[in-house]
Symmetry: C2
Subunit: 449 residues, 2 copies
């Protein structure tokens, strides 16, 4: 990493000394990921020099690599002439081009499209129509396709010509006259088979494809399970539209797991801005919502003020019971969300809830016994021990039920169960735990003391 | 998925009717991922027929796909003759072969190795030495390498011969006489360049590689950032040892994010067994540990029994304060863990804690003001409102400090900050919140009422 920084510093020096030739040579020598990183470090003034020293095509690779920040790129585009910007976008892969154009202002979009070839502009407009997180939004249109009655030799010639524009040549797709996907061959097949072999003789007709409106999570699962480098996207008549490459699938997997993680904590962990104000703005609504939900627990406790006044020691164990049950409920929630993501049949759902409830009963009884012994030893009060032990047991059981049942219900309603956050479950579990605790306390302490 | 199940059923029927030829043909037509899934569904008896009908090489692909369950495969190996098992392992990719052999019993291992060619056995022994989660443990040894003074034509011939054994031919690695890695070309480069071009003229000498003892998380980051299909592994003298392919990197990313998720919830969400006893066994230690830590909160409250007896209403707000602060602390924890994973300089660490503390102060003040207003309106008691509001503010501030500081300290100690679990932070935050609440209450209520 340090050596890369040294190269970056040298590149900046070349910009400063206004040396276009040396700069261009050294810049194009970088891996395109590093080109992107380097570009991101530049000042306004340095960027303007880069636009002067590099052609749009030469800069396009770098822009392909900073595609995860379309808003930022939209700002860069404002710094260029519309002609340069349009040519730059044209040099990028279609999926990234569409991501960026999705982020530019409407008037700017029209201007940029007007500088493109009509056919390119039409293709981009088409890609812009797809909903986010679908195959259509992820796919790129740069793939190599051949006819079934082509030979290996002619296919190889075609690959030679198209390779530099294709995002991957690991797979070559076989289509019929109507552009329908009928098979696939790998570049390995092209290399090992004699030139006069017909493609239809060696193609695999058992080709896995996804529909253009398919959800990105389903696609990621298929690519991961089948170890694909790319997966073809077709429309509802099986016409070949594009491909999704494994690097974009990795981004999907990262995005989805980061989202699940964020939701479990009730906070957007992906907002990496260093500005505490944006953190406050994103966390406050959630904290205040949980505060008002949590107020229910306060109202419930206030209903038991009489018994609290008589047995002040009850207050001592409130936090222990709600905290332990909250931990158990969060465990159930996390297990339920992962299970629901991995396995979708409804038999599994019933089994899931059954297991969580059984786990809740057993862990509840065991934890209850432990705390009973502790309270007995500490407070020398058998009835109090029984109250705390029984309350702990019941609170854990209900927390497990709540933690597993709520995500299942959310899924049955057709939503993603991962929207149920950890704080939500622990706040609900606080309320149920207190209800159980004070009801058991009322019954036992009033009647047996 | 349903059509695949139909094919599986047909295959089973062919096994039942003892039709080796039809079975073999239909089985080999499946994608190897489906071959692996199909094999996993078979009964003992059916598997024995498969060993009879398929050669070890024909079954090897299926076994490459069920590599995530080495213990299960070790059991399958016990069903085969050692000769068949050794040949099957030989037909698998070296990384998977080593994973499985790492799971078989010691006596069995020696027997299997004795059936292999000495050179293969030596290679496997070498791979078995690498520590888990390092490049060496992930890599496979099936790659294509060429000399720098070879031509494109001769390299292409070599690829033709080795392609069927290589795990990927997307990259061809260039090595010198001492087998040191000096460059890389893509299969694209081979295809588009004329046959008489020298490899050294077109190779990229700026090749990114990893050391054999490098941690898998670092490798995953590089593959993701650079969008590699594979990354070469070298020893400390830059000798080429193997490659890690992107499909294994996806498994690493999945494994790591599942681990982070599990830790945030304080539960192993990856244990997908349907047995509630294993769930209980894995959750109990954690629940009991947190129970005893939580007992501190009970002890603390018991120290304030006098003021609780005088102002019973204080008990009403315990859960609200600890719950809200716990939510805030979990938010800070999740943000801190993600930040520390993404960014490693110590300047960032200071900034992280500063931001979390500032966020804690502001969200604490705002939440405190809201709850002050609620309590004032509900309990008609200004002093109580001030106590609850101030305690809420202080508890949130400290929870944010604890949630961000503890993972930072853990990282400074050289450990993975993700080991800090959500339940741990919320239990600690319970204790600090109670201390703050009752101290503020003591000061205000004793002096101002």
């Amino acid at each position: 990493m340090d050596s890369t920084q040294a190269i970056f510093d040298e590149l900046k020096a070349q910009l400063k000394s206004r040396d276009p030739k040396k700069f261009k040579e050294a810049f194009l020598d970088l891996h395109k990921y590093d080109q992107g990183r380097f570009f991101g470090e530049l000042s306004d003034e340095e960027r303007r020099l880069v636009y002067k020293y590099l052609s749009p095509d030469e800069l396009a690779d770098a822009f392909d690599e900073i595609d995860d920040e379309p808003d930022l790129i939209a700002e860069y585009l404002d710094e260029m002439t519309p002609k340069y910007a349009a040519a730059l976008l044209n040099g990028m892969f279609a999926d990234n081009e569409a991501d960026i154009l999705g982020a530019v202002r409407h008037d700017k979009l029209h201007k940029l499209l007007s500088y493109m070839q009509p056919v390119d502009a039409a293709r981009v407009r088409q890609l812009l129509k797809y909903e986010e997180r679908t195959a259509g939004a992820l796919m790129t249109t740069e793939f190599v396709s051949v006819a079934a009655d082509a030979t290996v030799g002619s296919a190889m010639n075609q690959v030679k010509q198209e390779a530099q524009y294709a995002e991957t040549i690991s797979y070559i797709y076989v289509v019929n006259e109507s552009n329908q996907l009928i098979g696939v061959i790998s570049v390995k097949d092209l290399i090992v088979n004699p030139d006069d072999t017909f493609i239809k003789r060696i193609m695999n007709t058992n080709v896995v494809s996804v529909l253009d409106d398919e959800d990105q999570v389903e696609i990621a699962t298929q690519v991961r399970d089948y170890n694909f480098i790319a997966i073809p996207v077709v429309d509802d008549r099986n016409k070949m539209l594009g491909i999704i490459t494994v690097d974009d699938i990795i981004d999907v997997i990262d995005e989805e797991s980061a989202q699940d993680y964020s939701r479990l904590a009730g906070v957007n962990t992906e907002d990496l801005s260093d500005n505490p104000w944006s953190a406050i703005k994103s966390r406050m609504p959630w904290l205040i919502t949980m505060l008002f939900l949590g107020l229910i627990s306060a109202v419930v406790i206030s209903q038991f003020q009489t018994i609290l006044d008589r047995f002040g020691v009850l207050a001592v164990f409130i936090t222990l019971i709600t905290g332990t049950a909250g931990n158990a409920g969060t465990q159930s929630l996390a297990v339920a969300i992962r299970r629901l993501a991995n396995d979708e049949d409804s038999e599994g759902t019933v089994k899931l809830i059954f297991n969580e409830v059984l786990t809740g009963i057993i862990t509840g009884i065991l934890t209850g016994l432990v705390i009973f012994a502790v309270v007995l030893f500490w407070q020398k009060n058998m009835v109090l021990g029984i109250v705390i032990g029984a309350a702990m047991c019941g609170a854990i059981f209900i927390a497990n039920l709540v933690g597993s049942l709520i995500p299942v219900i959310i899924e049955k309603l057709g939503m993603d169960p991962a929207v149920v956050s950890g704080p939500f479950i622990s706040t609900i579990s606080d309320i149920t735990s207190i209800l159980i605790y004070f009801n058991i306390a009322t019954i036992c302490l009033i009647h047996f003391t």
